[in-house]
Amino acid sequence: MDTVVLLLVTGLGLGALYFLVASGLSLIYGLMGVLNFAHGSFLTISAFLGWEVGRRVSDGTWLGLGLSALVGVAVGAIVAAATEFLIIRRLYERHIEQALVTVGLSLASVALFEGIWGTDPIYTERPDWLTETTTVLGARIPNDRFLLIACAVLVLGGIVLFLHRTRYGLIIRAGVENRHMVTALGIDVRRAFTLVFAIGGAAAGLGGVLASVYYGYVSAHLGSVLLIFAFIVTVIGGLGSLTGAAIASVLVAVLQQFANFYLAGTGDFVVVVALAAVLLVRPRGLLGRTT
């Protein structure tokens, strides 16, 4: 029982990370049809800059971590918005080229991070509480899992509130449904595009700082690893569906944890098999639109 609880909570924690990356990916794809390969780089740069600021101000304390998170969110949002504004905007409606540009960006940025911060992971200091465990139903669960889950739930709630309670949220939802109609009604969707990139980047930025807490290190390849799973999550959940991304994140991560434990470390395989199965049975994903 305690093993099951531990695996479940760890899976939820990992799922929280996946969701932070996948939510942005899914929104961006849903609204603009852009498959954003640079999303992992948004995460990595935020993790690095957040760590740099956090350790200079106050290493290994809550204040430092809070600052890291703030910096991470800000950096993610700014970098993502700048990417959209300066590069992707030039290629609207040319989806393959947009994906290619983000591929180039991700290759170049990972190389740049390696040049600046080296190829080896850098181990980070965390507040003491995060390195301890709490006993829940007999299972000793590392405390960082709770932080991850709480953050992801807050982000999910925040994005849902934003999408359903604000005017820009309305435009974004309408744009996901039918972009041409929104444009025809005289609304400038392009500002919504930049906004969606900024939101996705901010979520990924927070994800970057939290990933450095979860893994205990920052490295130039932090984003690339998470990005592949985030892609899988996005496709399983249904491209463009935020709720789908949330559900799929949890499913994929929990499945991965259980398979790793009970089926001799085959978590990655099981996830791939699950992706293939979902696509064959239901090509649009769990909550994707029918079109």
Binding site: I87, R94, L100, G265, F269, V272, L279
Partner: protein, 382 residues
């Protein structure tokens, strides 16, 4: 498509092709033959291109690099058939290259203890690898092609990721894990082993490239190739005519994958081993970069892209370690000492400002048009 494709198709249907087009076609064929002949005699000459090649062309180091460039060009050519001809954006092409390299490596390992004659064992190993590549391509293709567009890209990525994980995990010590797989030379013909025989390996790489080119040309000119092209442009119309794009796409997918496996076998022999890097998604992305850099609309674009990329990668790595770069301040030194940063930036610039790639350059200069000659002037929603 491109001009030589147009002349090719009019020549093939034989409806009174104009004399100019037919002359142009013969010029192209002749030019190709001359280029292959020039490449073939390269190991016998001592051409030194400072800054581009590490040494004179007859030295093993330079030949090794050139042979590698030719194999990458062959791989890029097979990927161009998938991406450029059939419009299938696959993120799993590296899987088949790795299947060729690791498949042959493991087959040679398996045959090593047997006392079959070496020639027979080597041929059998190649045959086994080809069948393995074919079956793998059929399985992955049949599954992945049930979805299209971005989902297809994701499924292929997932399969490639599974392959990459499998290779790194090293089941029963078969793939060598992170260390890579060393070539077992028991049954490899003597002429293909060792530094002294690098020129044979170079000729083998050239042979692989020519073979891949001919197969790609054959598929593109065949009726299946035309259907694949038509399905890329307008799938609905192809369906209405009564043709199933699925079968044709699967054919193109399988042919491209087996060609990638052939290039992978060449890679194993050339490098005397296989590294797990060639199975990663990053490697597929590199091939994609090469194809786009060279020019998606052109067959020879993939070849030029492969050669330019490999040489650039090698030279930029050499440049990164040079004293001139070391002396620069950090702001300049760090970006310049990362070849992938320069290549990635170059790639972004090509996509943004040079949609035809390197191969599209002559056409752009000739016509003076700003857009890709094969692309209509697009209206964006901006």
């Amino acid at each position: 498509m491109t001009q030589d494709d147009l002349t090719g198709s009019t020549g093939a249907t034989g409806t009174g092709a104009p004399a100019r087009a037919s002359r142009r076609r013969w010029l192209l064929v002749g030019g190709g033959l001359v280029a292959v002949a020039a490449l073939a005699v390269l190991p016998l000459l001592a051409i030194d291109v400072p800054g581009v090649l590490p040494g004179p062309t007859y030295t093993p180091g330079t030949l090794q690099l050139l042979a590698f460039a030719l194999l990458i060009a062959a791989l890029a050519l097979s990927y161009r058939m998938l991406f450029g001809l059939a419009g299938l954006l696959s993120f799993g092409h590296a899987l088949f290259f790795a299947a060729g390299a690791y498949g042959l490596g493991m087959a040679l390992d398996a045959f090593a203890p047997s006392d079959l004659p070496s020639g027979l064992a080597f041929t059998a190993a190649i045959g086994v690898t080809l069948v393995f590549g074919l079956v793998l391509a059929l399985t992955v293709g049949a599954l992945a092609l049930r979805v299209t567009g971005i989902s297809f890209a994701m499924v292929t990525l997932a399969f490639a990721q599974a392959g990459s994980v499998l290779i790194r995990r090293n089941p029963e010590q078969a793939t060598g894990g992170d260390e890579g797989l060393a070539l077992d030379i028991t049954h490899v013909p003597e002429g293909l082993v060792g530094v002294v025989h690098t020129r044979n390996l170079y000729w083998m790489a050239l042979g692989v490239l020519v073979l891949v080119y001919l197969v790609v040309l054959w598929v593109e000119r065949s009726r299946a190739g035309h259907v694949a092209e038509a399905a890329r442009e307008n799938e609905l119309r192809v369906r209405v005519i009564g043709v199933r794009p699925y079968t044709v796409r699967l054919l193109v997918f399988v042919v491209a994958s087996v060609l990638a496996a052939v290039a992978g076998m060449g890679y194993l022999l050339l490098q005397s081993g296989a590294a797990p890097r060639i199975a990663t998604a990053d490697f597929t992305l590199t091939i994609l970069v090469i194809v786009v850099l060279g020019g998606v609309g052109y067959r020879w674009g993939a070849i030029v892209g492969g050669i330019v990329y490999t040489l650039l990668d090698q030279r930029l790595t050499a440049l990164a370690g040079s004293p001139a770069i070391e002396a620069l301040p950090d702001v300049l030194r760090i970006p310049l000492s990362e070849p992938l940063f320069i290549l990635g930036t170059l790639f972004v610039l090509v996509v943004l400002f040079l949609p035809g790639g390197i191969a599209g350059l002559p056409g752009r200069i000739r016509t003076g048009r700003r857009s890709h000659p094969a692309e209509p002037l697009e209206t964006t929603d901006a």
